[in-house]
Subunit: 206 residues, 4 copies
């Protein structure tokens, strides 16, 4: 059994490489032509492997999306940002944190998020993955909304649900996508969105 220890090194590493190549090719094609119009054969060709290697090393077509999604699922930055929010006692600072946190994460996951969002209707699995991503982010924003309520100093008439909606409006997926489509930098976008969100949420200073 000597040859079966946990570091089958060469072979396993090679397999991981193959998988990576396939995933990259898939992401590129899904982004370029969309999920429905991208065939498994095309992915295989782009990755330079046989069609069925896609099946043996990743799984079917839906599995490609799933695997792509899981790549960045364990997003520690998002978790860290969420924690920072709960430790912050200033309303404006919370909004800035949210802006920077969501912006940074979504900048990084831009490609996969676009794939998920743009191909929701093409496949049930894609739709499920997209919903999952949306829900995760909205949940985090709702938590931030709760924190804002705790801190207080907001404009009148804003309950937690409403704040969550406003946060999603400004820091949700579509908002950031619009920013990137304008060609704004992360800092520029985060700054502008934070400013706008503040004016929507925080009581005007006397």
């Amino acid at each position: 059994m000597a040859g079966r220890d946990y570091r089958s090194s060469v072979r396993e590493r090679h397999a991981q490489d193959t998988r990576r190549t396939i995933l990259d090719a898939a992401a590129a094609l899904f982004a370029e032509r969309g999920y429905a119009r991208t065939s498994v054969a095309a992915v295989a060709e782009a990755a330079g492997v046989a069609v069925n290697t896609v099946y043996t090393s990743v799984g079917g077509k839906p599995a490609l999306v799933t695997a792509l999604t899981e790549d960045g699922a364990r997003d520690e930055e998002a978790v860290e940002a969420a924690r920072a929010v709960t430790e912050c006692a200033d309303v404006r600072a919370v909004v800035r944190l949210v802006a920077e946190g969501t912006g940074s994460v979504q900048r990084r996951r831009q490609r996969i998020l676009a794939i998920l969002l743009d191909n929701r209707t093409a496949d049930q699995d894609v739709a499920a993955a997209a919903d999952l991503a949306v829900r995760a982010t909205r949940t985090r924003l709702d938590i931030a909304a709760g924190r804002l309520v705790e801190i207080g100093g907001l404009r009148a008439g804003l309950d937690r649900e409403r704040i969550g909606q406003i946060l999603w409006f400004y820091f949700g997926f579509e908002s950031w996508r619009t920013m990137w489509s304008f060609g704004w930098s992360l800092e520029q976008a985060a700054g502008w969105l934070a400013e706008q969100a503040e004016s929507a949420l925080v009581e005007a200073r006397p």
Copy 2:
């Protein structure tokens, strides 16, 4: 328009009915299951006609989307709203007009716009139709941006392009979709968006 007057024969009216039924069925299915996962056969069945009738009375699958799009293309309300903007001399009033105009139009065209946007990647024709719709609206917003520059009284550092972007951010397709997703009424949404856009664009009153 000559052929579509009130003297259309019975057969022709019947044909128009068939076409209408098919388009409605298509819209419903595209909205529910997405373009890629909706087969022409399914549309035909939902409309209660033979598969080929879809071809003879509308055209192929892409033609369904095109036809659906043209349904509301001759949007006189949008034209009228655009004209009103050019005759208005008050910055805040212009923003309100834009809010009400875009909101009303997009409320009405909600379904088809969602289909267009959600199925961009599924088909080239859909993508083209979506781009057309986007471009038309952005163009109108850019005209409004020009009018705002003419009137003056805006915050410092805002050029025409930037204003156009901000208007698109607040009154573009995704913004309104987010509003509808929140369940806000047209008035509520238009009011809130206008307020936000004002604070982003207009110099704070002393």
Copy 3:
């Protein structure tokens, strides 16, 4: 609507022809090469139609077997033979009737029965169709067994179940297949089997 009456004659007849040709080709190939090793493409080619005409005019691969089976399902001869048995009051005559009835039916359905029996394990639908056929015949034989009990004059120790088994042994599918494999004629086989069954069932004449 004149053209849509119940005798769309030409087109429909042509469609029926196509279907028949496909079914015949399928039966021949299934018999020759077996279900598993016969591809739909092969059936299509043998029938001289496009692959997908098989799908539109019959259904999938399992549907081919189902359709083939239903060809002779409405077997009036079997029903008639069963009725004759219930009206017969002589034990030996009943056995003869059963021999002739089953033999004639199975001679005629020889090909499809062989396909069903030989490809049970290849496909679930085939297995289901085979079971159905077996059950139908066994049920008829069990009814005949009941009749024999009613009439009486059988060897000691034979209950209805046992008689049903003996009838199935002599007049079941495998028995007849063995007969055909010997090259015996229907009359020869029916005569011999009846004689054997009699000696197994009927009390020896003093």
Copy 4:
């Protein structure tokens, strides 16, 4: 036989175990789901080995059947029974011997015979193995038929070929399978079949 004696090394014995495990798994799956619907991967999984081990230790998929068949090919009981027949001078005793001999062998080889018979059409190798088995048994029965002719005392009109057919009818594979399907014990079945065969072959006692 040199390599298979009691001095086989540990490794070799281990290899034999693996092979045995694989063959058992294969037999179980072939019996349960049929040859065509059983994948090599399924066999490997059931045996708890890698797919390729099936290839290295047994051979391809057809080789599984072949190996299974050879398991009981060297059937000394059948040989012995055949010899006993040639030494027996009583017609009825011969029939009994044949009944007991074939029944016992086929009881033991029941599983593999069912696999062979039920999957004839699924694969050429299976068909060949099945034919081989059939031919072997028929040959033995034909020899017994010859012996019966030698002894004499049979019903009029029975030549050697006819007797061979009758023996095959009563003591062939399908006959015994039917017996097992009835749930009859070996003794019960052998007794009944022998009795029937006697009445078919032997001149009635005055």
